[in-house]
């Protein structure tokens, strides 16, 4: 019999499924609205989270009746594997081509990494590689500690490693690891990772205030004391680092190529490439990333996994990494005889350049004459390398374990 509400399927589908499904849809729409509000208040980074919030609202409100009692949307289906069904969906669901040809093969992660390479300053890393790398290793604490915790919560080692990588604070690496090790958790892990990476800008200042005394936060570091690094030195660094890291970890070679290609383009001052990569390419990919992640956050995709556990584990991973980075910063402060501002440690959490900016911002609040950013970029970039190293080890070693 004809039901009037069937004309408005978005509303009708609220009553066709279970009560939990309907409530979860409302919750997801509410989260989408909250993300937009927090972006408007500049608490969260709007570059990813604004398109993500908008897409979350649209995908969870715009549900259709599909099959017997099932509901679906016209955005994308990430879990489809049969070629004929995929071909059909590619012609119907509008974000499916972007997901299939850019997401699931990691292309979007590589393109974003080229962009990050182009905007990254590697001076301090090249001039002082050892302290930069050691701070970055300290800030990988979350990627290590969360693995056994996740196993304790019932995840297998592949899934545990994929969720622990959130602690590396590198979106593309998280996408890559979950694609390689835990494809079933790819969607919730990647969504959670990007939400938390955006929250890092708002959350880490509180951790800094708890762990670092105000007096130490205001320590001045002379930006002109960094040894001068020429373009040729930085170019040579990018080529040698690409060669060595690709030899060591072939699984992460596409990401290494992308990042160091970006660095090389910057140091060779190829302005036409630079303008294209740091403008249309980087922002275009960031926009599509947010849009697709929002569309992935629909009830039919994430409604069947232990999302709450992943939310807690993701938060723990970033928390431990932040603690590790700040402890590393405090140790560096002691070793240097009080000359180094311990806030550089938080930049070891490699969310380029967000955590370096957090270090600068928190130091500036205490002392208006502190210029920490050139120093913080060293561990920040080193963090990309250490996260890539751990990604390489996890992706290579874990499948070999029986």
């Amino acid at each position: 019999m004809f039901n009037f509400w069937q004309i408005f399927e978005g509303i009708y589908t609220f009553f066709t499924g279970s009560l939990e499904t309907a409530l979860l849809r409302i919750l997801l729409i509410g989260i989408g609205l909250l993300l937009i509000y927090l972006c408007h208040k500049q608490i969260l980074d709007p570059l990813i989270l604004l398109p993500m919030g908008m897409a979350m609202i649209a995908v969870n409100a715009g549900m259709l009746v599909a099959g017997v009692g099932g509901i679906n949307s016209l955005f994308l289906e990430p879990l489809v594997s049969q070629p004929d069904k995929l071909m059909q969906i590619l012609q119907i669901e509008f974000l499916q081509p972007i997901y299939t040809f850019m997401f699931s093969n990691g292309l979007i992660a590589c393109l974003i990494f080229i962009g990050i390479g182009v905007i990254t300053d590697v001076d301090y890393l090249v001039a002082k590689p050892l302290p930069s790398m050691m701070l970055a290793v300290a800030a990988e604490l979350g990627t290590i500690i969360v693995l056994p915790i996740a196993m304790m919560w019932g995840f297998n080692i592949k899934q545990a490693a994929a969720i622990a990588m959130v602690g590396g604070a590198d979106g593309p690496m998280v996408l890559y690891t979950s694609l390689m090790l835990a494809k079933d958790l790819f969607v919730p892990i990647s969504v959670i990772a990007y939400i938390y990476l955006s929250l890092a800008y708002a959350g880490y200042p509180y951790l800094i205030k708890i762990m670092i005394p105000k007096k130490l936060r205001g320590i001045r570091m002379d930006p002109f004391a960094i040894p001068k690094v020429s373009r040729i030195e930085k170019l040579t660094f990018s080529v040698i680092a690409l060669l060595v890291l690709s030899l060591l970890f072939p699984v992460a070679a596409p990401l290494f190529l992308s990042f160091f290609l970006g660095v090389a383009i910057k140091e060779m001052a190829i302005t036409r490439f630079q303008d294209f990569i740091e403008g249309p390419l980087l922002y275009g990919c960031t926009f599509l990333l947010g849009l697709v992640l929002g569309a992935l956050f629909s009830i039919d995709i994430i409604g069947n996994v232990a999302v709450i556990k992943l939310l807690v584990l993701g938060m723990l991973a970033l928390l431990f990494s932040g603690i590790g980075g700040l402890l590393g910063g405090l140790l560096y402060y002691k070793i240097s005889g009080g000359k180094v501002n311990p806030l550089v440690g938080i930049a070891g959490v490699s969310c380029v350049p967000t955590t370096a900016k957090v270090a600068q911002k928190e130091a500036f609040k205490v002392n208006k004459w502190v210029m920490l950013l050139p120093y913080a970029m060293g561990p920040n970039v080193a963090g990309v390398i250490t996260t890539a190293i751990i990604t390489g080890i996890y992706v290579t070693a874990i499948p070999l374990l029986k």
């Binding site: 090249v126 590689p129 290793v137 290590i144 190293i389 374990l401």
Partner: protein, 58 residues
Amino acid sequence: MAVDTPLKGALFALVVYLLTFVISIFVALIIYIMYRIIHRGKETAIRAKQSEPVKRTD
């Protein structure tokens, strides 16, 4: 070896951390050597240029 318990997972994670530490030192060493070689080459070139006799032009 099957890593199927949290304890084995913790041991595996610890080994990964130590390995990351060692590889990071190795990478830092390579960057340092590369930087020193190029930097020294440049300094030598500058010194050589400074020690060249000045040609009289008058």
